[in-house]
């Protein structure tokens, strides 16, 4: 029973991973259509924290992530993300490298206007089972997961908006556990309150609405009752930049959910990133 509860908690925690920041330039908790310029390299150092409680589970996780993206062309970029986690669950702790993700994003449509852009892109990621799945709590899922998504957006001197749909297909992991496939839908609005110029600090405020749904987990052919369901988050984000440096931060607050059976729920997720491109 305890084992099943632990698996259920892991489901909620890892369900949050569908909108990892790989290839992100814009929203913090969901993807954006922008790609880095041709020949450009972007490094992102991120720090995540999340708290999950309920159904006998108390879990806190801290994760640092290093991400590198490279612009093959102005429309096509590739990237790699490597996380390092510190996890605490009901008194048990584990720390170490998690699962590495390889990704690519292709901007297949764009329309440039004076001081504004419309863009649309497709993204594809593969999460590899490189993290330890034998620790408690687990640092890696032991599975190879594939994510595909579509994202579109508008960026102007004053206003921003983004919309995205992401689907993650999870492979079988350690202990014959296959986490349910996940879907997310995201809407983002943003504003630049002060219109500065190029060599001046720039601030953008964003508000994201993130809906995440997980299908039930499967354990050796048996669908687990206390898994799956959806959560809805509202996420204020602030983004500050100066030339080729950006600092971003935000918090996700769960405002609604419909989870199957008895499960722990997400209290909050926080994220901060330092981005540098050259």
């Amino acid at each position: 029973m305890k084992h099943l509860f632990l698996r259920a908690a892991l489901t909620v925690t890892l369900a949050a991973g569908i909108n990892t920041p790989l290839l992100a330039h814009g929203p913090l908790f969901s993807p954006a259509p922008e790609t880095i310029f041709k020949g450009g390299t972007q490094l992102t150092f991120g720090f995540d924290t999340r708290k999950v409680t309920g159904a006998g589970i108390r879990q806190k996780e801290y994760k640092s992530t290093m991400e590198a993206n490279y612009g093959l062309t102005a429309d096509w970029e590739i990237g790699i993300e490597a996380p390092y986690s510190w996890k605490q669950q009901n008194g048990a702790t584990a720390n170490g490298f998690g699962d590495i993700t390889l990704g690519t994003k292709y901007q297949f449509w764009g329309r440039d206007l004076p001081a504004a852009q419309y863009k649309a892109a497709a993204l594809f990621k593969v999460k590899l089972p490189t993290g330890k799945d034998s620790t408690t709590p687990r640092l890696g899922s032991g599975s190879t997961d594939v994510t595909a998504g579509l994202v579109t957006g508008y960026e102007s001197r004053r206003w921003y908006w983004f919309a995205s749909a992401v689907y993650k297909a999870n492979g079988e992991g350690a202990g014959s556990l296959t986490k349910g496939d996940q879907q997310s839908l995201n809407l983002v609005g943003g504003i630049r309150p002060v219109l500065g110029n190029y060599k001046e600090p720039d601030t953008v405020l964003m508000l994201e609405l993130n809906w995440e749904n997980s299908q039930r987990d499967d354990l050796a052919g048996t669908s687990l009752a206390n898994t799956g369901g959806w959560e809805l988050f509202v996420s204020p984000v602030i983004w500050w930049t100066y030339r080729q440096i950006a600092v971003r931060g935000g918090v996700q607050f769960a405002i609604a959910n419909d989870l199957n059976g008895s499960q722990s729920t997400t209290d909050y997720r926080g994220k901060a990133e330092l981005v540098y491109h050259f």
Binding site: I36, A74, K199, Q244, F278
Partner: protein
């Protein structure tokens, strides 16, 4: 007197083009899609790879990039268009500024 004037005029005709070609050429690029300072860095980076470039002035509010070349160097519209495209934007207009 007239002969002196002719010689002076001839010398002036010879000198003026040399002087003009020795001046730094400036170009103004009107760029569409230029909304974000963080993104605009790509234009600066790509332009800095251009041989003979001396100075770049990006005005995001006006949507323009003013480029100053070193003496004897120049930039073509095709070259500017490719640089802007590789940066993720679109070149709307390209003009040479009179010095």
């Amino acid at each position: 007197m007239i002969e002196t004037f002719r010689i002076a005029a001839f010398a002036l005709v010879l000198v003026l083009p040399v002087t003009a070609s020795a001046a730094n050429k400036q170009y103004r690029l009107q760029v569409d899609g230029l909304a974000c300072p963080f993104c605009a860095y790509g234009i600066e980076k790509k332009l800095n790879q251009t041989k003979g470039l001396e100075n770049i002035d990006i005005d995001i509010n006006a949507g323009t990039v003013t480029v100053t070349m070193a003496k004897g160097a120049s930039m073509s519209k095709a070259q500017a268009s490719q640089i802007v495209k590789d940066s993720g934007f679109t070149l709307r207009a390209f003009s040479k500024l009179a010095k």
